[in-house]
Structure formats: structure tokens, C-alpha cells
Symmetry: C2
Subunit: 566 residues, 2 copies
């Protein structure tokens, strides 16, 4: 900002001349915990002041609606929306979210620094402010092959980008508490900046060691005692309510009942699907649930605004006061938090303009690199018994079983509810394929496949015959990644995700209709799509940090013992 | 910090091996608002963890005393203590204050950047952490002559010193709201950092304009409504309880009664004399008064620790949790807040070692530069009436009167309770002298003088005869500044302040005994020293921002109209 600009702002304020005036609003003050009926003057992208007389070039009559600061999502991954960042922005802005703290962990696992740079570029100049935390764990583990590996030195090349705030969720808490050198390098490189934690159920001395090393927040709490212990260490608690919601309702209700201080609590979605966001809301949905669970509305709003801004040192937002960024939401009430209007950077939000996304760099536009496949590459020789990756209905958790399986010519043959699962390394065309037996996804007469395979995003395919599995692989190789269902050699449904194999460049309506088609096709193959989305299930079977059994491009993996299964 | 160090800390924590263990403490947790009986492990200057088993090289049995984070003074001026910074540190550490945010405004007005650098140097390595806010208003006004003038560019040369946090109290709110260019330069130069405010009774649009321009805190609130309005703008409220205490008791009591959120409230002393600190306490005294006024003890402790740290972005202190700096205080109870033990940076505090202060640079050691005086230089010709600077008993405020005064040969002659007051420019030997008539300090047969004359620190002298006044000037010129009382040409008492004419290099005991001698001498001249300290009164008569009448080296000044009196 220059002197001329500041002088203009001061003079506009003193003269009561605004560009935009919001009249007759019930203005939520997150500093005094009060609601005041007042007019608000806005100019040059910032709030000039609350109260007093204002003349405005443009005026909005709030007619008694509640004016709150724009909502902040404290931790999330844009890639999980599968939409281009601009379309994601449009969707959440309509729900009153004006700032998100994004961790581009998914795309970084595919395309490294190029991927992060792409997300920075694609979010530049959006009405949604997207801040970034640099992915701390790429690759997430050494038990899988990712597209890139990021060291402390790599991350430092982006550390001083204006929208980069700090270091993203430090998932590898074993490396932290084990004082792994490469991990300490990253923690020390960002030691004076926000470092997000990720430490499900970590407790006692291990939790203390984790905090001592640097991470200052956590979004993985699944019960109230965990919240209390982590808060006591000084952690900022990000109450997560995304597409998964383990325990958060109970946590909110206990926070309200037991009067735990909320200054260090904020909200986040982590991963939430766009359909859910459109149907029920985003951070405003969490506000609704917080209030339903007994948290006072203004306290909940502080968590969604000022506390989140404070956590990340964002001094320009999170409140409605002189000089604060004019990101504002008008809510009809403070119970349902339905959004009437959104103001971003001082302008009434009317939608993100649809424009063709510029071509992505090659690393992102052509991210599926498979070695040529032989027809027998999926053959799985069997012993007397075989390890079986068992899905737990309605959970992302899995279990490990071992028993005899159906076979033909010494190789596994689908049957008895068992199908084949394969993970094909898709970044370096190494030809590496992990093979296994899967229970709980009883596909009949086909295959389903995806390039969204957390966190390394290799190509995951499951099916009851090798022909359809290989055909599904071909389909995804051809379109640059996505989700597909194949039966009898024919593509029943396809959602191309050509941006790093993770995101679509299509409008939301097309994404949604293709997702519906995928679910219909899955049902044709005999899958139940009501209790769980089989495609989400597939995307998580390769994540070797979730209990208890996973499969990566290197083979079947026992998460409990952190070792590959012989 | 390096990897080896962090690895050692993690390993010590996991093994429960500390350098210092505090056993059987009631540990105050400012994150959860709870008090937990636990042992605390400390090593390498930081808290490793609270609770669990610890083996320590050294142990302290707290025997049930309350262990709180070290206290933080959010805004103060070390120079006002008149002691060398190391002696000041010793005094406040004994009261549990382990961090102060200092504004070296006084010495900067005498010696500019050299003065600030001197304070940085003299506070380096002390067990008390001294952070600095760079003085924003040197000179404080254009109506007086100071020793230096600091521009935005000057201040930026020190901005990146590790203990410099931001821009000090922006007293010239008229320049801010008037969008004065030099002021905006300073505000913009520090716009992403803390900028302390100072805006007594500023309200409405003027207050909003002030906040819009950058200052983010205020320590001048004198009533509850002022607190509420400033808090509503997002200001951090520094509740000041120094040697002056207008309104703060009432404010605390209203904060408690009306449940105003305290997250943005902290404590400060601004100016508090060492005698008072020794007698009643420092920030621990404010805690006592806060609790007496109904603020819950843990809430008050948060204000004195975590809130102050948060205000200035100090993420390494203000709480007892893994990785936080081990600045700790043991209090006997949470009512009187008497200090049992203090730990600074992980070590038990036993006193700041007395050592001869290194010689100060010439600008500081020889800061009194007066032009030669002629015997008649204090002659004050009178008209039919004369402006009279009237002291208000027991207040720093003054009033302006105008009436006929006693005279001899056409010049003012002391009598009828009126004495002469003179301000001699003492930085540039310009010979400029402001002369006036003073009521309320009825000196008989002598003169009192000082080089502590807020904020430009010219030499201020008052007396009933020119001979003693000139003799007092000679005494202070000779010793490099200080306070003196002269009668019949003889020095009755003298407190030399050779460090910039503001601070002593002597031990506290000597400072105190010389102060007592000054008061006795003042009583010999017929002054009442019970209702007010005449030396403090003298130090404030030259401050042209306090209502309603002042005198500077440029003459008698009407603060209401901001103009010199003809």
C-alpha cells in the first residue's frame, strides 16, 4: 500500500464517503462479542468503519440480516474437490467462505514443486483468498512411489511467496518424535512460521515431543479428551467437519458444556466433496452444527473467523473493523447460517467468471506415465493361504485376513466375494505393480479404476477379471487420469481428471453428471453405492498410514507392523 | 536452533531427563484455564513437558505453590526508572516480570539512533528479555527542540534487529488522522508488524481513522466506555497501572462485571518508579488489583502472559507447554501474587550480577550541551498581564491563567505564590530559553532543576531568584544532567543522571538515598512533597501534548489551541 491510497482511505472515512454501504445490518463484533445494528462503510477493499452516517456509490439493504466476517476454512485440500480451483472457489464462496488455508499435498505428490506452483497460479486473483501451507510429507511414506519428493530445501524455494504461510500438516509423526533428520530439517526451516500438525490419537510424552518439535495445530481429534490434551499443549484445535465427521458433534457439545476456552479453536473441512458443500454448506454448515450443539453463535463465528485468522497470523481479516479486509457474509439468522449475500474484497460476490483454464504445464497435463503392460502382468500366483485386504463397511479403516482363496492354474481367480486389486506405479513408468486380494467390493463382470490414490496417487484398479482391469487402465492412461468403470471391454462411465490425474477441467455440472454415471455403472457391476461410495473406498486403499492393511505399488502392506506382507 | 539441539531436546523429553525439575507445583494452564498439580521438566532453556515422571539435575520443590508463565509488561519505558537497564531488570525480575516491551522514546529524543542502539546493547544477554518498539514520534511535537529527529528511513535501519518488534506508541494522533506524510511513511514502513497506539479519549470517526492507519493497541484508556469502543475497533487494550492509575480499577471491575472478552487485553506499567515497584510490585501488583476487582485469577494471568505474547506475535512464551521458553514464576497464592521464585530461560533467578557499566558513547555520556549564559539571560519583561502556567494539585494536568504579576524594573519578580520557570535547550547549545511564570510550586530562596523534561528532555529549572536558577543549571551542566536543588548558591541535593541526562549509573540504594535527599531539600525550600513529587511535576511541565498549558524552550504554549502564547 502506498501513501496516496492510505490518505484516500482516511479521507473517505472521515468524510463518511464509501464505495459500498451495507445498511440496516446486525453487525457481529468478534472483539466485544456483541451484535450492533449499524451501517457499514466499505471502500478500496477494506472496511472503513462500523456505525455513523455513510454515503455510498453502491448500497445493500441488509434488512436486519446478520453481517459477519467472511468465513475461513483452516485446513483443506482443494484437489479433493476434483474441480479446478476457480470452480471450487465459486462453490465455497456461495456458502460464505472467503478464505481457505490449502495444503496442496495431493498435487505435490504427483508433480512436486510444479504442482504447488500450478495451484498458486490458478488461485491468483480469485475472489476467494487461498493461502497455502507447503506439503511437509511428499512422499507421505517410503512404502510407496510418488511422483516427487520434496526436501526442506525444495520447500524453501516457495517459502516467501506472498500467499505461503508455513509448513503443511506433518503427518509423519513417527519421523518427528523419532527426530528423523530430513523431517527436522523441514521443521527447523519453518520454525518461526505456522506448522500444521496431524497426529491422530497421539498422547502423553509422544504428543509432547511432537509439539516440542514444532507443529502447532491439529485437525485429527476424534474425541473430547484428545481435544483437551492437545489444547493443554498449546495446539490450535481445528475442529474438522468434512465428508467424514468422526466425533466432532460430541466434541462440540462437550466444549459447550464444559466451557473449554475456544480462543484456540477453529473450523476446517479437510476434504469435503463439492456435492456435499452445495447440498449442506461449507464452514457455515459447521457453524450450524456448532450452534445446534450448544456453542453460542458469536463464539462459533469467532472460531470460524477471528480465531482462524489469528492462528495463521492473518492480521488483515477475520473481523469487521477499520482497515480489515472487506470479506463479509450476510446470514439470514445465526441458527441455520443460510447465506444471503457475500462480499469479497469489498465487492458483492456474484459468481466466479467461467473462463477456459490456461493449459497446464506438461508435468500436470500429462501426469499418467505407465510402462507398457503385458497381458499377464496382473497374474497373481497363490500359496496355500493368501493375505486379504478387507474393507470395513462404512469406514475408511480396513482389516487384514489370511485364508485360502479361489484359484485357477495356480493363480488367484475372483470369487467368494473376493476380487483382485492392483496398484500400478504411474509417475515414472517403472512398470511396478502391487497385486492383492480384496474383500468388500464384490465387482461382477468388470473393473473400476482411478488415478486418485491417496497419497501417492498411483493407478488403483479392482475387478473380477484381468481383461477389464487392463482395459480400465488403458482408459485412464488415454485420458490422463480420472475414474472409470469398464465391463466386457467397454467403458460404462468415465470422469476424466486431466489435471494431474486429480482434477477436472470441466464445469461442475458435468463433473456431477459423470459422477452419477459412475455410480450407476458401479451398481451395474453389482456394487452397493448407498452405504459407501466405492470410488472413495478405492481412492483410500493405497494409503499406507491408515490402519490396518493397505496396498501400494510395492505390494500388500501391514500398517500395524509397518511392513510389507510376504 | 540446530538439529542437534532439537534432537537432544526430543530425546531428553522422551526419556524424562530434565536439567531442572519443578516438583509439586500447581501449574497454571493458560490454554485450558485449568490448574493441575504436576511436575514440570525443563532443559535447554525451554519447558519439555508438564506431568509425568522427571529426573532432574536440579530440583525445586514448589510445595504446592502456583507455577505461572513469566509475566510480560506490554508497554513501558526503561528510562523512566532512572536506573541502568540491568538494575531495572533486577528489580522487575524479583516481581516475576520476565519480559518487557520497551519503547526507548526518552533516550531517542536525546540521542536518536545512538540512544536506541545503546538500550539494545545494554539489555543484550540480561535474564529479563527486553523487546523494543521503535519510537515513532521523535521529536514528539514541532513545538520544542529535541536532540534528534527520526524519520521512517532512520527507524528502518533498526527494524530487523532480533529484539525489535515494531513501531512504538504513535502519540501524534493528529498527524495520523490528518494523514501527515512523514507519519504515514512510518506507519506504512511497519504496516505488517505491531504498531502501538496512544490515543487518549480518541473516539468515533477520529478513532476509526487512527485504527485504519495502523496502530493496533492502546494503553491510554481512562474509562470503561473508552475500553469498549477501542476494543470494538480491534485494538489490543493495554490496561495501564503504573505510577499513575486513572480509571484502571474501575475498568477492571466493569470488565469483570460485564464479561467483556479479555483475549485482547493485557497489562502494562508505562512509567513506574523503582521505589513503587519494590514496595508494591510490578505486573504482579496489577494481577492483585485485577483479582481484587473481580477478574478470575487465571483470566488475569492470561492477560499478563499469553495475551501479551499474542499481541506482539511472541510465539515462544506466555505459557507453560512443550517448547515454550522456560520463563516461570512461583506464586504463593493467586490473590496477593507474592513471588516465591522466578525462573528465566530455564535457570533459577538469583539476581542480576552487578558489574560496572561499560562507558557510554559520547552522545549519551555527554548529552548536556548548553550555550554560555549571561547573568541576565533569565530576565522576563512583563506587560500589564502575564500568562501563568498553573499546576493542578495532584494531577499532571495544568491550566492557563492570565493576570498582573509582581515586577521590579519592568521584569517579573517571584512573589504571591508565583515563581519563574525556564526551559533551556540543551541538545544543540543554541542558547534558546523559554521563560514563564509558574504557579503551584512556591519555592522560597532557591531553585530546582532537571534534565528530565518530557519528551524532548531540555533542561527545566524553576526558582524564586535568577542566581539560584543559574547555579542549578551550572550544576546539571557540570554533572551531565540529573535533578538538583540549589539554595543561596549552594547545592543542597543532587541526583546525577549521566546516561543521556536520564539515567543513573549508580546502584539503586544510592539512587534512592539521593532521591530522599532531593525531597528533603525541596521541603527546605518550602515545597509540599506529600501530595505530589515536585520533581515529577517539573519533568512534565515541558510536555506540549498534555492539557492545557506548557512551556518549552520555544516559550509558553497553549495546548488547547496548539499555539505559543504571545
Amino acid at each position: 500500500m502506498d501513501k496516496q491510497k492510505l490518505t484516500r482511505r482516511i479521507s473517505a472515512l472521515k468524510g463518511g464517503r464509501a464505495e459500498l454501504v451495507i445498511r440496516n445490518a446486525r453487525v457481529v463484533n468478534v472483539f466485544t462479542d456483541t451484535i450492533e445494528e449499524a451501517d457499514v462503510g466499505i471502500a478500496d477493499g477494506v472496511v472503513l468503519g462500523v456505525g455513523g452516517d455513510w454515503q455510498g456509490e453502491q448500497e445493500i439493504d441488509a434488512a436486519g440480516a446478520y453481517l459477519a466476517p467472511g468465513l475461513i476454512d483452516g485446513h483443506m485440500h482443494i484437489e479433493s474437490s476434483m474441480a479446478h480451483p476457480a470452480r471450487f472457489a465459486d462453490t465455497v464462496l456461495r456458502q460464505g467462505t472467503t478464505t481457505v488455508i490449502a495444503d496442496p499435498h495431493e498435487i505435490a505428490n504427483v508433480a512436486g514443486l510444479v504442482g504447488i506452483r500450478y495451484m498458486l497460479d490458478q488461485t491468483e486473483g480469485l475472489p476467494l483468498t487461498v493461502f497455502f501451507m507447503l506439503p511437509s510429507c511428499v512422499p507421505a511414506t517410503c512404502f510407496e512411489t510418488s511422483g516427487a519428493s520434496l526436501s526442506a530445501v525444495d520447500l524453501l524455494t516457495l517459502a516467501h511467496e506472498p500467499r505461503v504461510l508455513g509448513l503443511g500438516e506433518v503427518m509423519d509423526y513417527v519421523a518427528v518424535t523419532g527426530a528423523d533428520e530430513a523431517m527436522l530439517d523441514k521443521l527447523l526451516a519453518f520454525r518461526d512460521r505456522p506448522i500444521d500438525g496431524h497426529a491422530p490419537l497421539l498422547s502423553g510424552r509422544a504428543l509432547q515431543a511432537y509439539c516440542l518439535a514444532g507443529p502447532f495445530s491439529d485437525h485429527e481429534c476424534s474425541n473430547f479428551d484428545e481435544v483437551k490434551e492437545k489444547l493443554a499443549q498449546g495446539m490450535h484445535i481445528q475442529l474438522r467437519y468434512g465428508s467424514a465427521c468422526r466425533g466432532v458433534e460430541e466434541i462440540m457439545s462437550r466444549v459447550a458444556k464444559e466451557g473449554l476456552p475456544t480462543e484456540r479453536m477453529l473450523f476446517c473441512t479437510d476434504d469435503k466433496h463439492l456435492e456435499n458443500i452445495r447440498a449442506e454448506g461449507h464452514i457455515n454448515f459447521i457453524l450450524r452444527r456448532a450452534v445446534a450443539n450448544g456453542i453460542p453463535a458469536v463464539t462459533a463465528l469467532k472460531m470460524a473467523t477471528l480465531n482462524a485468522a489469528g492462528c495463521y497470523g492473518l492480521r488483515d481479516r477475520g473481523a469487521i473493523a477499520p482497515g480489515f479486509r472487506a470479506d463479509l457474509v450476510l446470514f439470514r439468522d445465526l441458527k441455520d447460517f443460510d447465506v444471503e449475500n457475500v462480499i469479497c474484497g469489498g465487492r458483492l460476490f456474484t459468481g466466479v467468471q467461467e473462463q477456459a483454464a490456461p493449459p497446464a504445464p506438461a508435468e500436470i497435463a500429462r501426469s499418467v506415465h505407465l510402462a507398457p503392460r503385458k497381458p499377464d502382468c496382473l497374474r497373481l500366483p497363490v500359496g496355500q493361504t493368501m493375505p486379504i485386504l478387507q474393507l470395513v463397511p462404512g469406514e475408511v479403516l480396513t482389516t487384514l485376513d489370511r485364508r485360502p482363496v479361489p484359484q485357477e492354474d495356480g493363480c488367484f481367480k475372483a470369487g467368494d466375494g473376493l476380487v483382485k486389486i492392483a496398484v500400478l506405479e504411474r509417475h515414472h513408468a517403472s512398470g511396478r505393480i502391487g497385486l492383492g486380494v480384496l474383500e468388500g467390493l464384490p465387482i461382477r463382470g468388470g473393473a473400476i479404476a482411478t488415478t486418485v490414490g491417496h497419497d501417492s496417487h498411483n493407478l488403483v484398479v479392482a475387478g473380477d477379471n484381468d481383461g477389464d482391469m487392463l482395459a480400465a487402465v488403458d482408459v485412464l492412461e488415454e485420458c490422463g487420469g480420472g475414474y472409470t468403470v469398464v465391463s466386457g471391454g467397454k467403458t460404462l462411465a468415465l470422469l476424466p481428471l486431466p489435471i494431474a490425474g486429480l482434477m477436472s477441467d470441466a464445469p461442475l455440472s458435468e463433473i456431477f453428471s459423470r459422477q452419477q454415471a459412475l455410480l450407476r455403472a458401479a451398481r451395474q457391476l453389482g456394487l452397493d453405492t448407498d452405504s459407501a461410495d466405492p470410488f472413495i473406498t478405492l481412492s483410500f486403499v493405497a494409503l499406507p498410514v491408515l490402519p490396518a492393511c493397505r496396498i501400494t505399488d510395492k505390494g500388500m502392506f501391514d500398517v500395524t507392523s509397518m511392513s510389507f506382507i510376504k
